[in-house]
Amino acid sequence: MSTGLLSGEARVEAAPRFPRKRKGISGRSIAILVFLSICAAFFCVPLYVIVTTSFKTMEQIREGAIFSLPSPITFEPWVNAWDHACSGIRCEGLKVGFWNSVAILFPSLVLSMTLSSVTGYALALWHVRWAGTFLFILFICAFVPFQIIMIPLIILSSGLKVYGTIWGIAIIHAVLSMPFLTLVFRNYYKGIPQEIMSAAMMDSGSFWRVFGEIILPMSGNIFIVVLILQVTSIWNDFLLGLTFGGLGTQPMSVVLANVVITTTGEAAYNENMAAALLTAIPPLVIYFILGKFFVQGITAGAIKG
């Protein structure tokens, strides 16, 4: 240990000659803590109420103490919400909506990510004629609110015979998210060093080969970012599912709304809370699994040399 490698002995055990001053807790850091705690409570208190209520019996809820802990704890509201809750006259619970949502999610994910990554790649790394103009149009489109083009889209999709089907919703999702996602991919691919692209042009020069073998393997981070964005927005979408979903093809969010609205007799708050939580879980799970990569993906482009 004490025999240094070349010269200069390592003095690991000696006490530091210039110890740094310990930083105490200042008034400023207390203020920051208090502020952050209030912010956290702002989001946590409603969540606490929802979670506890979903485990309470209706008798306890009627007592009116919304902050009390559930006693006894019951899982019945969760089972009911999943299996028996009534949406309109159908009492099959949320599970119908869940599977619809899953069926919508996968095709629209594949469609939107394929479309926009290839478009972004072409715009960023190939000399596309009018690329600037095209990018500008995309940019404008990204800011057009859906409500404006809703009716034309309905007419279009019914003309294409996809209105009211799972595929209809998936295609509309893909088309609507394309402008924004293309911009995201394009900006990411702009960060790839030009020389790598030049080397690929000299080696192969094939649009798809270069994309599949060189560019795609380098885009893991951005795909995870887009995946999280898309899963969240598609799963949480309500308006698209409502307007484009047929009777049997409504996504979970629409079914949830119906469950909450449909009341015979008293409102089953515990069931409604459980239903809301059930609907919110899938994006959360995705976020927890991929969250680490999400942060990496956002910063990866910024600090790459």
Partner: protein
């Protein structure tokens, strides 16, 4: 076999013209170095040859093929980039393979070529690593390997050594030179480092402002610079360039610069010297004689005060006050002690090493 020619090449971006009516012919097996300061158009010229940029006007041929409008991959070239540009997600083997697989070569041939290049460049143990796991020098070898496996007639190098440290740079310089001797292929090599150019090139094209200033062997470029730009650019420390006036009298020609007469009677003037002509004389720092020792047959003798001196280990340079400027002279480091600031030293410059340029046009006289 490939002979590369550029004919009347123009490259402009909007109103900015980067290359102006450039002609250049590169012989088969030549090691051509494009040398010039940043922004002189040398990399642009290389990219035009590679097909990564399109010419605004002009024709490029390789062998007897007009490649002006061909895609990069169809030109029969391979290129090594400054940043190596290795594919980060592929192994070394994958990097070498990518260009070959794209040309639909049989698998056995691909394997054989990779083995050949790996042996030649001593990267066999690295074949299954990713570029991130390699050192700078190793990456450089892989980048060269990726070009070699294509077995093309013309290799392009875009400042390949500028990201390496000084020691590795010297090593790789020798290796590239050795590769060229072994493979006998044509190499076009871009650099701003004159030492690389002088050591490796069979011919150098010195470029500035989009124009080839001189095209010749390293000895020609150094020994007979065609104009003031080349004279000032080649050589380190740079050549001393001083304005002077010619006087022609009775068969004697002298250049008078800041009160010193330099005898240029035996200088090989291209056109006859005129009395009173404004010229620029060039004196290389390394051609000065030893201090306070006369050289035989000097062109001129100087007696100048020392301004300052610097040592680089193997070399030393003294800067002497001359007129209103400085002239640099290379000195044996053991003698540098004699050059104390303020001292006046006597040095002389030999005949036959002088360069004379026209003051207006900058051309060699």
């Amino acid at each position: 076999m490939p002979r590369v020619t550029f004919e009347d090449i123009i490259k402009s971006y909007g109103k900015l013209t980067v290359l102006k009516n450039l002609d250049l012919a590169i012989d088969d097996g030549e090691f051509l170095v494009l040398l010039g300061p940043s922004g002189c158009g040398k990399t642009t010229l290389l990219n035009l040859l590679a097909g990564l940029l399109d010419v605004t006007a002009g024709r490029i041929t390789i062998g007897d093929r007009d490649v002006t409008d061909l895609d990069p991959k169809d030109r029969g070239l391979a290129m090594v980039f400054q940043s190596y540009a290795l594919y980060p997600t592929k192994t070394v083997r994958g990097n070498l393979k990518f260009g070959l697989a794209a040309h639909k070569l049989p698998a056995a041939e691909i394997e054989q070529r990779i083995a050949w290049a790996a042996r030649l460049l001593q990267i066999e143990p690295l074949l299954d690593r990713k570029p991130a796991q390699l050192s700078g020098g190793q990456r450089q070898r892989v980048a060269i390997g990726r070009a070699l496996v294509k077995k093309v007639g013309v290799f392009l190098f875009d400042e390949p050594l500028s990201n390496l440290d000084a020691k590795l740079r010297t090593e790789m310089r020798l290796e590239i030179k050795k590769l060229h001797d072994e493979l006998k292929s044509t190499i076009v090599y871009v650099t701003h480092d004159q030492i690389e150019a002088m050591t490796m090139a069979t011919r150098i094209a010195v470029m500035d402002a989009g124009v080839i200033q001189q095209f010749g062997s390293p000895d020609e470029i150094y020994g007979r610079p065609a104009n003031l730009f080349v004279a000032g650019f080649i050589g380190s420390p740079a050549m001393n360039l001083r304005p002077a006036t010619l006087s022609v009298a009775g068969g004697k020609v002298a250049a008078r610069a800041a009160g010193v007469d330099l005898d240029v009677s035996r200088y090989g003037f291209v056109s006859p010297p005129q009395d009173g002509q404004s010229v620029v004389v060039g004196l290389r720092p390394e051609h000065f004689g030893e201090p306070d020792a006369a050289v035989t047959d000097p062109a001129g003798n100087f007696s100048l005060p020392v301004q300052y001196s610097e040592k680089t280990g193997s070399d030393a340079t003294a800067y002497l006050k001359f007129g209103d400027g400085l002239i640099a002279t290379r000195v044996d480091p053991e003698q540098i002690g004699r050059f104390r600031q303020g001292d006046t030293v006597n040095i002389s410059f030999p005949q036959g090493k002088l360069h004379v340029f026209d003051a207006q046009s900058g051309r060699r006289l």
